[in-house]
Symmetry: C2
Subunit: 345 residues, 2 copies
DNA sequence: ATTAGCACTCTCGCTACGAGAGTGCTAATT
DNA sequence: AATTAGCACTCTCGTAGCGAGAGTGCTAAT
């Protein structure tokens, strides 16, 4: 365990974080006392900064430069010092107004959430569709397209829709297809994979082909850690001075673009958390090289243990944490309300 | 009309384009003769280059630098000089193999197409889902979720699926909902918006609410210029030397990210073209400032006048046009086959 | 029409240098 | 014992100068 910081050191850390997020530059002792009118001298501050540098909370780019918070420093700040500012009431109203004014459906809401999140935080936003690991059958539709090809539409409890194209072994009329669908809709209503597996059906090749496809889709859905992913504000990342060189922006961009990488981050962090808590991932935490200079702020939303999604932002480590955390939390609350009002079975 | 270029000038333009795409640098007269073993002297080349610069096909970054093709130069090259190299047979096989090995459905195919396109071209890829302007009713499903909330799933001919949440004015049982859906499925099968508008129904508030929603969704779908958009390879753009400064990469990225911008480009270019032709948009063509240093190569795929989508790539103006055009054309062919084999009514 | 030769231009990498900002240390002060 | 004033030192950054290298345009000869 690290030695505890004194109150004055905590204050200084707060001020340095604040000043550095404002100016993008390393912060020196003199400018600190000037900016904030402290009644201690710059020499005293230098002594304190030396200690905190020793402890690993601050970093000097070179011997005669000001200080910059380290990952450690940011972590301490976020854990102990950041104060969550509630968003101003009119901002909150404007945002929720936008949601309730476009009552078009889940897809639109998630898109909107990503857009608002990106704008408010001036960072890249991530929103995943609500999803349940316990795939439950709700409704099946089989639509003949041509010859043996059938469009299969499977609706799961929670509103998730999966479609695929089925190539049957023989040509089947739309009537027969509808009968099969009706049959399954009766029997499988509200069942999960195991329950459907237990059911016994008459030996019809087509019927079994359909059931196999349904089961496969349900298993596939259950295996997904997240629903569809909505991204927005990628260009915000490019605008940040720490990523002025495209080369530096590539890693975080790659992470956002590659589903597998993104899923890895999402699953290993918030998927283990309860709804309500906000997780802050600073500098990759030694696990993700792609996030070297980034912070990711994530939280879950939805109905705990039933239908949950993830949402958050990715930005530079130098980030207005208070404001961003508040924004993420607020939007998560809104989405949770929308989901529980509309999506539950 | 520009004066015609001599054969030798065409050759030189070709070589300059080739050399410049290879080295990223302006190319000079001496290096040309050295690289390609030309049997004319550098002085002769200088005279020719001076003429072509005068004509607007080449550009000098500064007085004593080599030449770089202008937008005009690239356009001439693409229109008259580029030779389409068929992709090597084993590349083609590998690619089509991937498509037929993952027969999961449209969504997967489009994702795969975007991924392959991005990898092959080392640029950003764009793929839009096939779409028809003439929205035609195929199937409707109404699923009660809770109280007055209903999940409406509308399938259009061509396989497009639209979902939304309906807030009914009164509580309706699932049975009644199914009846309404069945009724509409009988009556509206294969109808477009106008035909449905002409139908007369008994005065039931719920029924009319559903019909209104269906019509609105169909109109919405018709108004869209494209289906869903799949992007991939955004980081490829960041890797190009012309976009080494993030600031420079922002414009094209913004264009890809902002649906409205992207739709604008897509609609004003290929949407006016027939399937089969490949359009090359070089440097924004005076219309899109965001594309100043970019080229976009687009083509349509699908079933002409029925179900078509767009696909292509966005990269720096300095691009291996021959290879990229071939790749785009090849993938478009593959997707066209898949669509007509599977998606037609 | 082509080419050799040449003077000229512009970029780029290197070095030098002074201003500015910040540090650490020491000795004096509270 | 904590704080502070003072000072020498360090490092970055912008500017200027300079020479090498690559390329050009022009002229005169082929």
């Amino acid at each position: 365990m690290k030695r505890e910081l004194t109150e004055r050191q905590k204050l200084l850390l707060t001020l340095i974080v604040h000043e550095h997020t404002r100016t993008t530059q390393p912060v020196g002792s003199k400018s600190l006392v000037k900016q904030y009118g402290l009644n201690i001298s710059s020499a005293t501050i230098r002594n304190e900064l030396a200690i905190m540098t020793e402890l690993g909370y601050l970093h000097q780019p070179h011997t005669s430069a000001g200080r910059v918070p380290t990952e450690e420093g940011y972590r301490f700040f976020v854990s102990n010092l950041v104060q969550q500012t509630n968003l101003p009431i009119n901002t909150r109203n404007t945002i929720s107004h936008q949601f309730y004014q476009s009552p078009q459906g889940l897809d639109q809401w998630l898109r909107l959430a990503a857009s608002i999140l990106a704008n408010q935080s001036q960072a890249a936003s991530i929103v995943t569709a609500p999803h349940t690991e316990n795939a439950t059958f709700k409704h099946l539709e089989l639509l003949s397209t041509r010859a043996t090809q059938v469009l299969m539409v499977l609706v799961l409890v929670g509103g998730e829709i999966r479609q695929r194209i089925l190539s049957l072994d023989e040509t089947v009329s739309q009537e027969s297809l509808s009968q099969i669908a009706d049959r399954l809709n009766d029997l499988c209503q509200g069942c999960n994979v195991e329950q459907i597996e237990k059911l016994v059906f008459e030996p019809s090749p087509v019927l079994h082909q359909v059931i196999d496809a349904v089961l496969e889709d349900m298993r596939l859905s259950a295996k997904l850690v997240t629903g569809e992913v909505y991204l927005d504000g990628l260009t915000n990342v490019l605008a940040e001075p720490e990523f002025a060189q495209s080369q530096l922006a590539r890693s975080p961009m790659r992470l956002l673009e590659e589903r597998t990488l993104l899923n890895d981050v999402l699953s290993r962090t918030v998927m283990t958390e309860k709804v309500g808590g906000v997780q802050v991932l600073i500098g990759g935490e030694g696990t993700w090289a792609e996030l070297r200079d980034c912070s990711v702020i994530l939280t879950r939303y939805g109905i705990p243990d039933q239908l949950t999604g993830t949402l958050g932002v990715l930005g530079p480590m130098r980030m207005p944490y208070g404001h961003t955390i508040s924004t993420v939390r607020f939007i998560a609350g809104l989405l949770s309300d929308l989901v529980s009002e509309n999506m539950l079975e």
